[in-house]
């Protein structure tokens, strides 16, 4: 009661009085906000070098403006467009495989009645999420190597062994399946959390109506977790131009650039390895802005169709 009255009062007091009264709490924010300004917002401003001829000094200012020169350059660059379409192909194929598998796995986990077995399956399936990407990539290379288990299977079936890691046509498969391995279990957590929030009376009512388990899943569980499904879909669509950068960097090689080189790895090679900072920044900025636009559109769509949204 007392706090309510006080907060009502503070809404009408001038801002400086409010800050002076609460300065001790605001003081907590000083260092973290400076941190955010330096480490989150300064790099955003640092994108100005996309419009300048930056030559590698400590300051991002002071070199001449070149306008959209670098943007025009990469728009005419076939390597950029190859990376752009590889990004789309890899993310869309991953999304198309991952989404139904994760949802299906979550629904099946939800049907397990033996709690200890369920816990065990969850514990095991979450594990890959915690493994270093360096190890994941190393594992992938071992699994698909010429003497590795997958090729042993290939040979056993009577085919020639395949040099998977150096064949561009195999890269999307390697990318998608290792992604599933990493995230199938972890991806179910939010669905399972949403499922525990579904009113059990709905299930009871449906059971009395004689609904089978499949019907319960279709008519109670899925509608119940629809907001979660939508939010996760929005996030995935927003990141459609940002494939798993580190994994690709660790798994690709010049032989597979044709299908494996994506925008972020292209930015890395041009900027960090090649020293074309301004050019690479222009490409990176383009990617970031497209991502932001995609999230916003997906969020709007979801807000209109299902009333669930990120903001």
């Amino acid at each position: 009661m007392a706090t309510q009255a006080r907060s009502k009062l503070s809404d009408t007091t001038p801002l400086w009085k409010h800050v002076r009264k609460e300065w001790k709490l605001y003081a907590f924010l000083v260092i973290p906000v400076i941190y955010f300004v330096i480490f989150k917002y300064m790099p955003m401003i640092g994108n100005v070098i996309a419009f300048r001829k930056y030559r590698g000094g400590p300051s991002i200012l002071g070199s001449e403006w070149v306008g959209f020169t670098y943007f025009e350059m990469f728009m005419k660059d076939p390597t950029f467009w190859r990376a752009f379409f590889n990004d789309l192909t890899l993310s869309v194929s991953y999304l198309v495989v991952k989404f139904p598998l994760t949802l299906g796995f979550a629904l099946l986990l939800n049907e397990i009645t033996k709690m200890r077995w369920k816990k065990f399956v969850q514990t095991v399936s979450y594990l890959p999420h915690f493994i270093s990407i360096v190890i994941v990539a190393g594992m992938v290379k071992e699994m698909v190597s010429l003497t590795g288990p997958i090729n042993s299977l290939v040979a056993w079936l009577g085919y020639e062994r395949i040099a998977f890691i150096s064949l561009p046509e195999w890269f999307p498969t390697i990318y998608v399946s290792s992604g599933i391995w990493q995230s199938l279990g972890w991806g179910t957590i939010l669905y399972l959390a949403a499922m525990t929030g579904i009113n059990t009376e709905l299930y009871e009512a449906a059971k009395i109506d004689g609904g089978s388990r499949l019907r319960l899943a279709m008519h109670v569980t899925i509608p119940g977790i629809l907001p979660t499904i939508m939010v996760l879909l929005i996030l995935d669509i927003g990141s459609i131009l940002s494939s798993n950068f580190e994994k690709i960097l660790l798994l690709y090689n010049p032989l597979t650039y044709e299908t494996a080189d994506v925008i972020s790895t292209y930015v890395y090679r041009m900027g960090i390895t090649g020293g074309n900072f301004s050019y690479a920044t222009a490409v990176g900025l383009f990617e970031g802005i497209i991502g932001l636009i995609l999230v916003t559109i997906a969020n709007e769509l979801s807000k209109r169709t299902t009333q669930s949204s990120l903001w």
């Binding site: 917002y41 190890i135 699994m143 089978s212 990617e287």
Partner: protein, 288 residues
């Protein structure tokens, strides 16, 4: 009716068994390979158990101080980085969890925006390496990623869920704002502190890209970077410590052995701390 349900249960159990084996197989294969002889590996005989059991590769790797030095660096970065990150996240989240602070209307979107847009690789690199001159220092590893918007939202949500009465009680006892925070709020927030601590620690432990960008001196490398060199065949068996007759054995199984040794701590601790991660995701999902 009951028959159909039990049929479904059998089917479900089978699917789960497939998922479990699909998940565990690569680990088993690595362990098997790391204990197998070079001849067995090259013949493709290793599948899920060691063939011609040997511990030679482990002995060679562990006989040289290199591995332990890189491991030590990883421990240092993880511990220091986690401490900074958790402290900074808590300090930032506490005022943001107070609805009475009117400027939060500005500060919360200020934090949230960074979840959807970032500076990008090159501007970040220029800032850390050139403008701030942190290249080849421990600070380039532990500072730039210290506070994340996601962790702030998690912690802020948790703080906001604490009952107002406990803070009120502290005020009555004569504690100031800082005293309430350190003596009342933080002790009550152990679950979320543990969750964020583990999130950050796993991230730091597994981090290789940051170190590969910023650390030139090999003696500062974390284990993940050394491991990457081994996987890329960039470290010769002699460098790892093999004598001439051990060379081919090392070449055959050093990668799997190094991967096993590097993931071991995570795999050992993971089952006991798993619930904190899940809990963190759940709190996060409430706010989204």
């Amino acid at each position: 009716m009951t028959k159909r349900i039990s049929l479904f249960d059998i089917f479900n159990t089978l699917i789960m068994l497939v998922v479990v084996s699909f998940t565990l197989y690569p680990f088993l294969y690595l362990v098997a390979q790391s204990f197998s002889s070079e001849a067995a590996i090259y013949a493709g005989k290793v599948s899920i158990y060691p063939v011609e059991f040997t511990t030679q590769t482990y002995e060679v790797i562990l006989s040289k101080p290199d591995f332990f030095r890189y491991y030590g660096n990883t421990i240092l970065y993880s511990v220091l980085g986690t401490f900074i990150a958790v402290a900074a996240t808590a300090v930032m989240s506490y005022p943001l969890s107070k609805p009475k602070l009117r400027l939060n209307k500005f500060f919360i979107p200020f934090v949230l925006f960074t979840m959807y847009f970032g500076g990008g690789l090159i501007p970040n690199y220029i800032l850390v390496a050139k403008t701030l001159g942190m290249r080849d220092t421990i600070w380039a590893i532990v500072i730039p990623g210290a506070i994340s918007a996601f962790n702030v939202i998690l912690m802020k949500t948790f703080f906001a869920s604490l009952p107002n009465e406990v803070e009120e009680a502290g005020r009555v006892d004569g504690l100031g704002v800082f005293g309430i925070f350190t003596r009342i709020v933080l002790p009550l927030s152990k679950p979320i502190l543990a969750t964020i601590m583990l999130f950050v620690m796993v991230g730091m432990w597994n981090n290789w890209f940051g170190p590969s960008l910023y650390l030139q001196s090999k003696e500062k490398w974390p284990i993940a970077l050394y491991l990457k060199q081994i996987i890329d065949n960039a470290v010769s068996p002699t460098e790892i410590g093999a004598s001439s007759e051990q060379t081919s054995q090392i070449a055959a199984s050093v990668k799997s052995t190094a991967m096993v040794l590097t993931s071991l701590p995570i795999i050992c601790i993971y089952p006991f701390v798993q619930r904190y991660f899940v809990q963190g995701m759940m709190i996060g999902s409430v706010k989204g």
